[in-house]
Subunit: 279 residues, 4 copies
Amino acid sequence: MAIKELIPRSHWLTSLKVKTERTRVKVGPYEIGGNELVIMAGPCAVENREQILETAVEIAKYGGHILRGGAFKPRTSPYSFQGLGGEGLELLSLAKARTSMPVITEVIDTESIAKVAEVADILQVGARNMQNFPMLKKLGRIKKPILLKRGISARVEEWLLSAEYILSEGNSQVVLCERGIRTFETATRNTLDLSVVPLVKSMTHLPVIVDPSHGTGIRSIVGTMAKAAVVAGADGLLLEVHPCPEKAFSDGDQSMDISEFAKLMEDLERLVKFIDKSL
Amino acid sequence: MAIKELIPRSHWLTSLKVKTERTRVKVGPYEIGGNELVIMAGPCAVENREQILETAVEIAKYGGHILRGGAFKPRTSPYSFQGLGGEGLELLSLAKARTSMPVITEVIDTESIAKVAEVADILQVGARNMQNFPMLKKLGRIKKPILLKRGISARVEEWLLSAEYILSEGNSQVVLCERGIRTFETATRNTLDLSVVPLVKSMTHLPVIVDPSHGTGIRSIVGTMAKAAVVAGADGLLLEVHPCPEKAFSDGDQSMDISEFAKLMEDLERLVKFIDKSL
Amino acid sequence: MAIKELIPRSHWLTSLKVKTERTRVKVGPYEIGGNELVIMAGPCAVENREQILETAVEIAKYGGHILRGGAFKPRTSPYSFQGLGGEGLELLSLAKARTSMPVITEVIDTESIAKVAEVADILQVGARNMQNFPMLKKLGRIKKPILLKRGISARVEEWLLSAEYILSEGNSQVVLCERGIRTFETATRNTLDLSVVPLVKSMTHLPVIVDPSHGTGIRSIVGTMAKAAVVAGADGLLLEVHPCPEKAFSDGDQSMDISEFAKLMEDLERLVKFIDKSL
Amino acid sequence: MAIKELIPRSHWLTSLKVKTERTRVKVGPYEIGGNELVIMAGPCAVENREQILETAVEIAKYGGHILRGGAFKPRTSPYSFQGLGGEGLELLSLAKARTSMPVITEVIDTESIAKVAEVADILQVGARNMQNFPMLKKLGRIKKPILLKRGISARVEEWLLSAEYILSEGNSQVVLCERGIRTFETATRNTLDLSVVPLVKSMTHLPVIVDPSHGTGIRSIVGTMAKAAVVAGADGLLLEVHPCPEKAFSDGDQSMDISEFAKLMEDLERLVKFIDKSL
């Protein structure tokens, strides 16, 4: 009976002891994990042609690098908007053609990996799927970068082991994303745990980015926490931006509008100098 | 653009207001949610022929109703034992034939649902997959009972909405299972939340069972908490039992041995009279 | 420079290894930690003469042992009812004289210890004061029993060390009380952690009781959880009972009325036989 | 029977709606809550004459404003170092005379308030005492500034209400201090919740500072999180600095040494320009 032994942490493929050089994940013309702060922005969900095109154009205009937008939406209730599915992917394709921005979108099951990978330049694994091990294994066998969100109550070690599932299957293009954890606090949607940024970067060579939109759930503080995340050492940001947050199908409370996004980009441009990065 | 509105809680299919009669889920000759306390017991993982057959025979002997045993194991680390897979299912089949006990085993992805459903009399959705919505939807379209474990940090409302995913696709044979939540406490593996048993039963017509093995992670208190769960109103128990917990491939620290299981069954026989149930 | 070394857990005065015989705490004619299940019941706060006398008489009538009632109330808001203070103590005295029941009431600062100890047969340290070390030290120097509630986010080890503060000053008459911990769950006021009952009893010789009123915050499930607590091994219960919960100055949502209390006492009388205790 | 009604949040004395001008708390020649970033630094505990004098001189040299150092130490175990008490206060006095730095130190009970207030320019209420209401009330009647740490599992609303206890007694010189909350994460001592900084500042006129030492418990990331806190909007920092962290009587794992502190001050000098503050 062969039981694979638990490999000690210092031998994990994700460990900074195994690979001392920091991993840079290439997404289109950008590199996450290098000197550039990479900004991924867009609506929570692709809602229709006008919405995604308008948002994409504005994000590109103000210096965003990668367009985000959900086609398959994992929703707590079966009665909430579940995303446009295949149609959403087509609209993302269109936005990509229009703006030349690479695209990030979420994959929620193994069946649709191939379809999502046709459009996405980087595939997002949401917090709820951080321990969907069969899906992680399959994502370890494709040639596209993966963004792995931290589970809502995942300890650092579990998060790294989920990344290990992907690396151990052959795909080392993994970006970690902190997006808030669940605590007793009810004033915020989640508690954004920025301390994991320097902590995780002391343990692994993989890049780490931060999603202050889900991390706080409060539009008015997203910009501030985005800047704090950058100073904490984040290699990039994942931001929800919507042309009209009040009318968003989902996550309107935590979405910036275009002018808030433009203002943040301006602030970041000044801030990156402080941390020897570029934007 | 048609967006399905969020249906209010009082109209959910899981709501006791929509269906005032308690659901009884039939598994083999047993009914979960009726007057009988249903005991599901067995090893965390099917390890080999001898282990599963011996355990099954002993569990049947001491009055257990349903045999549990994992063939596909979701494990935090890719380097931990992942279960015997298809071979594990065959061994479960054998144990079932030998003892006439119905079988419960976990399903971890949509691809293997059909295969698992051939052997299992009730399919278990683990805590990590409580919000694996594509899988829940598919499980809503099969004709087998589903055991839905509460996610490690799931609020009651989210748990019920995950059940709603299954019911809204047509399968109303759902049993809820409390298995401990993640808190700051480190003395136990999880914090077993028995108060959800009466609470959830005041909200839904679905049966609720308790898993004190995962719920505590401490073998010496599993029996006591099993009894407390029954008094809290649980319709059944899910127990890890192993002929030799010290040598178990997984979860040995929280598995009862045969004599502990036998003692618990004896205690339960006396206790059920107190709550007007039978065993 | 003399620094007292941290004494290892096996040498703590609270440890079952240091004192293998279980401590019985005598309160009036009752012993907590022996074969008797001890019921402490009464209103959250002493509100007026009629309320406390009526409740006391009813509780005695249905078999309660010790009368609870707060004179000094620690309240989250400075604008909430803060208790009747000295007048509340006098009313408790009156109720005690009328019913011959011993009294438990809360002490919230070092200044009032002497005054509270004149009336109280056992002094309660609330969850918020579990780590009020100067107060614990002073309570360690009096000759009255102490009920030490677990802090809202206290780990088991911290709770035992707070008891150690009392024992190390010379007072070994300490009863521990689980009253729910703070988690992400919002459907209940707190998460009642019954698993600590058998766990803590395996670590310490001190008695452990449970407060299902604060532990759940939901009146309709208090009785059920009280019974589950008893089966989990609790040496007693602390219950909020109010003649008219709807009109209570505080904690009305979680207070039983007299008939609910009477019904619980009836159930407990049958249940204690199962666990070889008496009521 | 007069019961004071719960005053709605918009009428609390701490509310930004009641007082729209931001409170500036004067401590010696410094103002917390204005344009200056105020740095409080020093050892967890005053250990001896040499240690506190050396640390004070070095902190002053590198630009720290206020000297911190505990004389009365609330410790989880009664067997841990409890502080030098009165002798510690005298040593703080000496360090203050030597460096002209104002001093912050913790008060742990009502009896010692007067004694502590003789030496301290600002009195610290520790996390464990955030809901020690009798002490808060007394602190509301003195003429010294108060630093109120957030309890380890306090919700924002509870923290503000604890401040309200002080303000409602007449003392409006209150500084709030975020110091990490208790979550399931075990890789850090606490989870530093920086999102409360902008959130709380949108609710109250009181200044907010951050303690990244307790907030993380990990020396190597304290500096980074200190900078993130400043960008999140903190009005100041509370830092543990020890000339030889390896030999500290307490909290050595999270204390910076002098050179780390010097480096942080250098970084902050550049960073404050970004947020239009001075150092």
